[in-house]
Symmetry: C2
Subunit: 409 residues, 2 copies
């Protein structure tokens, strides 16, 4: 699958890093701008600004109206979108290989938004609608609260969407200030994947972003003091009990970063894991899983359980017993091997398309500063030793779990 | 993208049809069994049996336990799953090309389930949990009701999941009867996509399914008498108003089948459509769309609107005005062209992986009996004339709409 792949890399005079994974077999080209600006970079008074700004970048500038942007993406036959997370904001698309240059052109326009006042007011309503929509989605409400409470003041607990209050109070000028302090070329990564002409794309990127001036961007990385214990939120309107569990994990920069990923998969993958066989396969819960999420400087195990309220106490106890037993007794080599294979499979299939590749090696490069081929990552996962997992379990991370339940009470 | 593709086709002595789209550039192989048995084939007393049976097929037989099946899929590094719809039940997976034969072997085991009594009782709990989970998902509850009410006794209104009552009452023997009447080889399609050895796979399929005996399966296709008008369901626990809209559409066998698809996209695609600009872009609704779904013998436009209860009446009126205006004034050539391109783009990107291709040409072949390459389908979409869309609008399908609202009242 990796035959004939080539890694391309350059830093433009304005500080913008451009990377690419060229695949001569690909029939499409994916292009993405990854901005190292996300919810964790927000102060409370502008909570939600990264995500709101992502929306505003589709509103255009003096050259492109919002309708133009939408129309040109469609004319290019582009599969395109954007997302905002705690760590970053990503604008991306994929087209047939002959249109890569035009896609780069359009995505570059997105990163030069006018942030017009009237667009801002209109889009504010859209964001508020999006926030309102989550009120009917208990699992998302739960994780919004649990994430904030677990991180306990650390910026990784910041809400991506923001609140009704913060969005209502946000001004266009405050967004402009945020943009001017975060979208520096050296804080942005331009990523190409699939079939493209490196020299032509690089020359175009350099010419097109020549006016972008660079400046220094600092990301705060305070120490985390995560919460622990059990809390419960009651909403009589709900019919199910939803439970989130957080426990201390491993930061993304750790040389051990795949250890908690394999561990969480063995314990709590959505199929064929210990939690699956113990809770879901037995019909005790419709959904019970454990995963591991890592950010810059911090990581956490994140788990979820959905259950009938009458059985909630018993099933949550079983869930926690599964974690405790793993700490007490470890995992078998077979379980470890199986989890490794499942993760490798997911990586391999995600790598089938240029857009899938762009997301994988782009985010890894932005965080770690190194290029990782699919083969590299698969090899790293498959060679992660069980002993490292057992060592992590011996530190008993789940004894420090924070659990938040949301149900009808 | 279609260079070097080859269509393979054979009918085995037992009546099983095997088709494939061979792609020498692919590094993976996708294999799927498509059974023409879905919710529409169920009588009310066994409502939900198709989907429950899909789960039971993963429970194994005298050769493979449930754990074996799960384990072997993982050992193969397979990306695999199954789904049940009104029209069919599909078991599928994808692996690197060297493992295609072993994947076929395992999927064939799935179609020879023992349906053990104890597995059946255990899995019944899993299904009931799945049904319970939907109680906290208002949009899914709404569509479950709206679909049933719109189809008004026609089997396309049958619930895929079934109800708590029907699943509780279902017996293992009734499921066996359903299996014995629906899983005839001539009612099943074996589909291959990507890189595979046709002769070897075909020989394996023939040898492995030699004991399957064929019989005739009849699918009922009664005339539909769809409902129209407006109904409202009240649930004081909700915070948003959710609205579903149905209107008469076009069956999948129609030579005009792409006309309503392009039409619905132009009016109500989730981005860049009339509904998008009129409702979502203006912050009046977090979600407003219109699509077209077609089954054997019948089709329908299906729409959705989510809105704050206080604005529900006004925004639903606007939604319906968008539909009425399209009927009154038609669409522009630009809108039509743009919708065509967006659909072609979606088809093209879905075709990037063997598994995506398997789903597309497999379901089309099962329904229409003809092979369609991506290029064929893209060409058919791009050559669908605006005049056909205008003709459909002149028949004023939305005047016969059925609208169901679910909200706090």
């Amino acid at each position: 699958m990796t035959s004939g792949l080539r890694f391309d890399h350059a830093v433009l005079p304005n500080g913008l890093t451009v990377i690419g994974e060229h695949n001569p077999r690909a029939v499409t080209t994916a292009v993405g701008y990854m901005v190292r600006a996300g919810a964790r970079d927000e102060t409370p008074d502008v909570s939600g600004v990264s995500h709101f700004l992502e929306h505003m970048c589709f509103k255009g500038n003096e050259r492109y109206s919002a309708d133009d942007i939408n129309r040109v993406f469609d004319e290019l036959g582009a599969d395109y979108n954007a997302y905002t997370s705690e760590e970053r904001t990503v604008y991306y698309g994929a087209v047939t290989a002959d249109k890569g240059g035009r896609l780069l052109e359009l995505l570059t326009e997105l990163l030069e938004p006018s942030l017009r006042q009237d667009d801002f007011e209109m889009e504010k309503k859209v964001i508020l609608e999006e926030i309102a929509m989550y009120q009917d989605r208990p699992a998302q409400r739960l994780f919004e609260s649990a994430n904030q409470r677990y991180w306990n003041g650390h910026p990784l607990g910041n809400s991506v969407l923001g609140s009704v209050e913060s969005i209502t109070a946000l001004t266009r000028d405050a967004m402009q200030v945020y943009f001017d302090r975060r979208y520096a070329p050296s804080n942005v990564l331009l990523v190409l994947a699939g079939n493209y002409d490196w020299d032509a794309m690089l020359a175009q990127a350099e010419r097109r972003t020549a006016s972008w001036r660079d400046y220094q961007v600092v990301r705060e990385r305070p120490a985390a003091r995560p919460a622990r214990g059990y809390e419960e939120l009651v909403d009589p309107k709900l019919t199910r009990q939803h439970v989130a569990l957080y426990a201390p994990g491993v930061p993304v920069e750790s040389p051990q970063r795949f250890v908690p990923v394999v561990l969480a998969n063995a314990i709590g993958d959505s199929s064929g894991s210990r939690l699956y066989w113990e809770l879901v396969d037995k019909g005790l819960s419709d959904n019970a899983w454990l995963a591991h999420e890592s950010g810059e400087g911090e990581g956490a195990f994140v788990g979820y359980l959905s259950v009938a309220p009458a059985k909630a106490e018993e099933v949550l106890e079983r869930y926690q017993q599964v974690l405790a037993r793993a700490q007490d007794e470890g995992l078998t080599p077979e379980e470890w091997r199986r989890a490794q294979r499942k993760i490798a499979t997911g990586l391999t299939f995600r790598a089938e398309t240029p857009l899938g590749r762009l997301m994988s090696f782009g985010t890894a490069y932005q965080t770690l500063g190194v290029y990782e081929s699919v083969a590299d990552v698969v090899a790293a996962v498959l060679s992660t030793p069980l002993e490292a997992g057992l060592e992590l379990l011996r530190r008993r991370p789940f004894d420090d779990a924070y659990v938040l339940a949301l149900g009808p009470g």
